[in-house]
Structure formats: structure tokens, C-alpha cells
Symmetry: C3
Subunit: 301 residues, 3 copies
């Protein structure tokens, strides 16, 4: 069976089913009528994703095993694979992993007998973030097809830009990019436009975080807002129903004016809310595929 | 609605109700018949307060979300406000916060839609500690009015001295202070007496921790016990029914002789025990005020 | 009542009862029908032992209090004893402790009113590891008496070698040791043999970890595998039914060839699995002895 590592492994139909399931979880309470353990192995800092998975797991009634790398045998040199096998051996039914290596999932090999959920892989992918972005857009507009969506910011170092663009296009959205010169990724097959054009013409502005922690030069971020970010002036020129997304954490005043974070157009905290239901959906979908749970285990309550 | 930040926001009647409710929780098991999530955001080290809140929350049947600042997006510069809003968005019904800034609660503004419980604010206030102190004294004597209570130690840097003194006086206790010169806070309207007078005349000695971690000079603590602390000799001169309190962690041999920590007069571990019931009481009181729970949700079991 | 600190405090009969109880826990689900809190106080890094205790506790339905020393008042100098008394005061019904001092249990004195479980004491003892080793061997062979068991590796710094050898001998196994010169402990009354002789003649090879983190010299580990470790060549000469154990974390390529970690003979991940049941068994056994639970509290489910 496959782990849940990448959005590229999902068909459009599978994505639609996950979005629909997330909607069900948002509308009514469900609970797994079965004792299941899940371990959240976060090798990199996270507030949203880690806690969102934790809430999703606990809403489903799963027992959550916490793990912090610096209190673990990782400090004695234990590998990701051996750590994963250890949690399998002591009874975890699934693992959620965030790790700084782009390709950490390749280290898992084929010996692991429990599903792994990607909660962030270096700057490569973060598939549950992508799913919750899709969900939030579709929840607001009712559809994805034909929407003009611009991904704005540090395209080059983002772990969501590429897979988001790919997924949005498969659903018929028209994807464009907007970035400062040093943040451009030339390998992506989408046109780059200015932030002004992006603001005026897009239905959705998907802002990205300027990832201070992945950069060296501080000057890259000074005056960033005025030149490349979403200012109040630019927000005023947005289309009537256009919305703003951001995966957070937000650099207030860098990629977006602080006053816009909770404006009417902003669905930033809505994204976080939706993330819980998306994670409930993907957890149950994959656990079912693996035969760890079946339809009868999921009880409405 | 108001967050629970300060003892100064409570009327005498409200405090009495919380103390009574804590007594109920001590005498019988109660449980919230409802799925509630609570996040404990401790930006400063804590054993007692954090675990006490955790036990209180779990006894009430709440689901607890853990958070450690160095594994969170706080390391990427995320603010307290954005962290709090994140937990609100992913489904927390309440937040417990300890932070080193005296005025962190002012950063929360009015946009947060879930109640926040102060578990320690810099050197300003720590209201649940104050409530559990009141509870422990009243539980032992049966009343507060007329008791002679001396707060002893590092008054200047303490986050409980000022609000404790204020609350005790409102309940009719006679408050005095005792401190080494460098620990005196002149702004408080209570008389300073020597530790010898304090020991001989008080019904309650509320010892404070000499907060090494907030000071620079090591000499401030050398010979501290003999000159300003509670020695065995001084304890022998205490009134027959007088008791000793301390919020802990204790510097054994600094502010109090190690042999006194578990003597008959010492209610130090009793304070910790009572702290759980006080926190159950304040959690349910505020959750009810906010309409998050109602009377029927609290079931005796 | 006694804490659970050492294998030396258990009679053969008591060990047999724990092994039998672990077998019951492996075969059917049991749950404590009672609200019990347990705190896991790990002052040293651990993946397996900490998570194994956590799974065991949660399978039994206990509420788990987490603790990380650097977020606790230990950073303010609080002692192990005061930390333990704090958790007792706030309602923990039992404590699991790992600490780097060989003799930390002596600091607990006799004032603690809840049982303590040793999850690792410096390089002195780690009794639940020993029990799960016994369990894994007996589970595989059906008996212990007469088995030739060689403990291989860093005998000198190991916290399991001595007590394992002692326990195995009491059950009639024939114990031998194999170690590089610098890892020999002369005080143990068992013969040392070469790794080649060990591989060819043993029913069980109990590999130990080369504990980098307890050593200074890096050269002690270079070429270690070829001279003292379990190579593929040596594994091929093992007896038909002979098995390999290792407490992990494994230094792949140091004490054992990486390809052997999951070979048929290796029971390394089986040990981890069994560890959960052993911990359930020892927790319930000691809690019963202390009168904290009784036979009726343990329900099959």
C-alpha cells in the first residue's frame, strides 16, 4: 500500500472524495469506534500543522503519541527509518511525519507496515496544506474551474507552490505566479505577473511566507511589502469577491500588511479551521485503504 | 466577554464562589459531558502550574493540546496573538497562557473569540496561584477574616505578593511583609516587619521563592536563610496553629530550611493539591460565563 | 511499599507472574475501569522506553502527564524529590522515571506515597528492558533453562548487562560475555568468549549498543564491527534456531551489520512490541501491590 506523501499520487476523483469527506466532518461529529494509536513525528517546528493533525486525530478518537526529536534516540544517531519502525513495533497504527529533507519518504523503504502521512517535506511538498487550500477555495466559490489564482511570494523555496499550482490547474483553475526576482522558480510552467496585476485580476491571491529561516540575506525582505507584497492600496483594487489565502505563519508587514490579515477577504484563519477536517478526511481515507479501519468503524455521534 | 487575567477583575463574591466550587470538585468527581479542546501555551518553564492545569483539564474530560515554543512557529517569529488565533482556528475552546511579559494579555486585543486563562504573567500576576493560596488558608482555618498573614521574601520580583496581599485584605486578613532590603517594594501599602517578628506573630507565613533566575547577584542569596529566611529556630517560635505556605519551586536552604518543607505546619504540598481543584473551578466558571458550557454539561460521576 | 527499581528485588516466581501477565495482555485487551494519572519523568532522551510506557499506560486507560525537564522547574534547580512530590500532590497515582544518576531512586526516600517505576538509572539498571528480554526469549524458545546466551558488546557501560545476566542465570540459562577489551567489566562472574565463539555456540546473542554518547574516544568504534560486532559472516555460522536481540537504538554498521537488523533471526522489533505488554504487566502488578487498583478494576474488553 502507498503512504500519503504527495498530491501527485492522487487522481482528481480521489481529491474530490477527500474534499467531500472533509465537508462531512465539518458538518457532523464522527468518531472511530476502535482503539488506534498514531504518532506525530515532527523533526521541524510547527504550530498549525502539528496541532491541526492532533485535533483531527483526537476528534476521531485516536490516541496520540507525542515525539520530540531532542528527547528521543535521534540524539544518539537513530535514523528516521529506525524511529518509524520503533513506533510501528510499539503499536502505532499510523505515523505523521514532518522532516527537513525533501526526500525523507524515500528512506522509509517498503518494510514499514503502517501508513505514513506527509506533514511537510523540506521545500518539496506539504500535501495536506494543498488540500486545505483547495477546500477553502471551493468552499467559498462553490467551484474551482475557471478561477484566476495567483500564487504570490517566495515561489522558489515554497513547499506548497508547485503542487498547489499543479492541483489547481487539474481542477481547471487558471494559475499565475508573482514573485520578486530572487524568488522566481523558472522551472514552473506558469506565467509570472506583477503583484499589481495579480491584485487587480485574481479571484484568489495565495500569498506565501517569506521564509526568513531558509534565507541568508536580510535585505531580501526589506522594502519587500511595498514592492512585492499585498499592501492596503493593492487590496482595495482587488475584485469584489476575490479572497486572500496564506498558509501561515505570516510575516506581518512583510508579505502582507498586518491590517489585512483579518480583513473580510482574508480566509487565512478559515484555512486553519478547514485544515482539521481535511486531515480527518485524509487520515480516514488512507486508513481505510490500508484495511486498518472499515466503514463501520466510523460512527456519527 | 472577559478573559481570566487578574484577580483584580473579581469581586469578593465571585472569589467566594470559585472557592466553594473548588471545594465541590475536591469532594466529588465531576466531568464535562461535551468534547472540549484546551491548549496550554507555556512560554516559560513550569512544572506545577502546567501539570496542575493539565490534571484539572483532564479530570474535567477536556482534550489537551500541548505546545512548546521551541517546536512551534514562534521560532519563525510568530506573535503571541497569531499563535492564540491559530489555536482558536483549529478548534481550541480555551487557552491557558504563561508568558514572561508582564502585559502579554494586552497583546490579545478583542478579536479572540475564546477565553484565555492567565497561568503567569512576567512578574505581574499569577491569579490561580493567589486563589489556591486563599483556598488553602480558608480550608485550614475555616475563615480569612482577622488572620495575621505575613508575605516573606522577594516581594519586589514576585508575581503573587501584590495580588495576594490585595485579595487577603479584601477578605479581612491583616497583611504584613518581610523582606531583605533589596527585595522591598515600597509601592505596597503594607508594613514591613522582621522575619523574627513575622514568625512569632503570624497565623500564616507566605514564603516566596528567591528567584535566582530573575537576579544577577549571587551574594544576595548567600547567608539569606540566617538573616531573612525561615530557620528551624524561627519555626519553633511560631504560634501553635500557624502554618507555612510557599508557591514552590522551593530553594531548600535558602528561603526555608529544608527540614521544614514537610513539617506539620507546612501546607506546601497541600497547596499544590488544592491548585488542581481551583483550576477546575476557574475553568468551569469562565467557560460558563462565555456560554461555552452550561450547567447541564457538568455531570457528577 | 516498594517502588519498582531493580530486578534484584523480584523473586523468580514474581518474574514468572509478570511474564505470564504480559502474555495475557498480548492475547486480549484489558482496561483499568478507574481514573488514574501517571507521569512520565524522563530526564534523559528516550524513544522506545518512553513511548512504550506511554502506549502501555494508554492501553490500560490511564491519563498520561508529560514532562520535559527543560520546560520544568528543574531549570530553576528543583530536585528530583521535589519534582516527584509535586506530581504526587497534583494527583499522579504513579511515576515513571528515567534519570542519568545511577542511584536516583535513593533520593526519593520514604516520603513518597505513590509507586515509582524505574525506566532507566544511569548505567546501573533498566529493569523493564530486562523483563522484556526474558519475555522475548521465553516466548520464542518456550523455556529459558539450559539456553546458551551471550551478552555481546559494551558490558562495562551497559545498564542491562549485569541484571540480565543475573536474571537469566536464575532461570537456568548459561550466560557468557563477549566484549572488546575496553568494554570488559571484570567484576561480573561470567566467562568472556570471542565474538566468533559466541556466534557459533549461542542460542541467543544479546547485542548491546556501543554507547557513543557515554564515551569520548571515537577510535573505540572504528573497525569495531569487524573485530567485535555481528557481521553477516558470523551470522551465517549461528545455530539453526539461534536468535539475535538488541535493546536499541542500534548503531547500524557498528555493533551489528545493518542487513541483519531485520533478518529472520533478529527479534529486535519483537522486543519492542513485547515491551508494551511487559510494562502493562509491571504497572498493574505494582499498582495492585500498593492497593491503588484491585482485581476488579482490570476489565477485559
Amino acid at each position: 500500500m502507498e503512504h500519503f506523501i504527495s498530491l501527485y499520487q492522487m487522481s482528481v476523483k480521489e481529491i474530490e472524495e477527500v474534499l467531500q469527506l472533509a465537508k462531512n466532518f465539518k458538518e457532523a461529529k464522527y468518531r472511530l469506534d476502535r482503539e488506534l494509536f498514531i504518532a506525530n513525528l515532527f523533526f521541524e517546528p510547527s504550530t498549525r500543522t502539528k496541532s491541526s493533525f492532533e485535533v483531527a486525530e483526537k476528534k476521531l478518537g485516536m490516541k496520540v503519541l507525542d515525539f520530540t526529536p531532542e528527547h528521543s534516540s535521534v540524539t544518539k544517531g537513530e535514523s528516521l527509518y529506525d524511529t518509524a519502525k520503533t513506533f510501528e513495533a510499539i503499536g502505532a497504527n499510523a505515523l505523521v511525519i514532518r522532516h527537513g529533507d525533501d526526500d525523507w519518504s524515500e528512506q522509509l523503504g517498503s518494510n514499514l507496515k503502517i501508513p505514513v502521512f506527509n506533514a511537510g517535506a523540506g521545500k518539496k511538498e506539504h500535501p495536506t496544506q494543498c488540500l486545505l487550500d483547495l477546500y477553502t477555495i471551493e468552499d467559498y466559490f462553490g467551484y474551482l474551474e475557471g478561477l484566476k489564482i495567483t500564487i504570490v511570494g517566495d515561489i522558489k523555496h515554497s513547499r506548497v507552490a508547485k503542487s498547489n499550482a499543479y492541483a489547481l490547474e487539474r481542477f481547471g483553475a487558471k494559475v499565475r505566479l508573482s514573485a520578486a526576482e530572487s524568488f522566481i522558480d523558472d522551472s514552473l510552467p506558469y506565467p509570472y505577473i506583477s503583484i499589481d496585476e495579480a491584485a487587480e485580476t485574481s479571484d484568489v491571491l495565495m500569498m506565501l511566507r517569506v521564509q526568513h529561516e531558509r534565507h541568508e540575506t536580510e535585505e531580501q525582505v526589506s522594502n519587500y511589502l511595498a514592492r512585492y507584497g499585498l499592501t492596503v492600496q493593492r487590496e482595495r483594487k482587488m475584485k469584489e469577491n476575490a479572497i486572500i489565502l496564506h498558509p501561515a505563519p505570516i510575516n506581518r508587514g512583510v508579505e502582507i500588511d498586518s491590517r489585512l490579515v483579518e480583513c473580510n477577504r482574508s480566509k487565512i484563519f478559515k484555512q486553519m479551521e478547514n485544515g482539521v477536517y481535511i486531515r480527518m478526511a485524509i487520515l480516514t481515507t488512507i486508513l481505510k485503504k490500508w484495511g486498518i479501519i472499515n466503514d463501520n468503524d466510523l460512527k456519527k455521534c
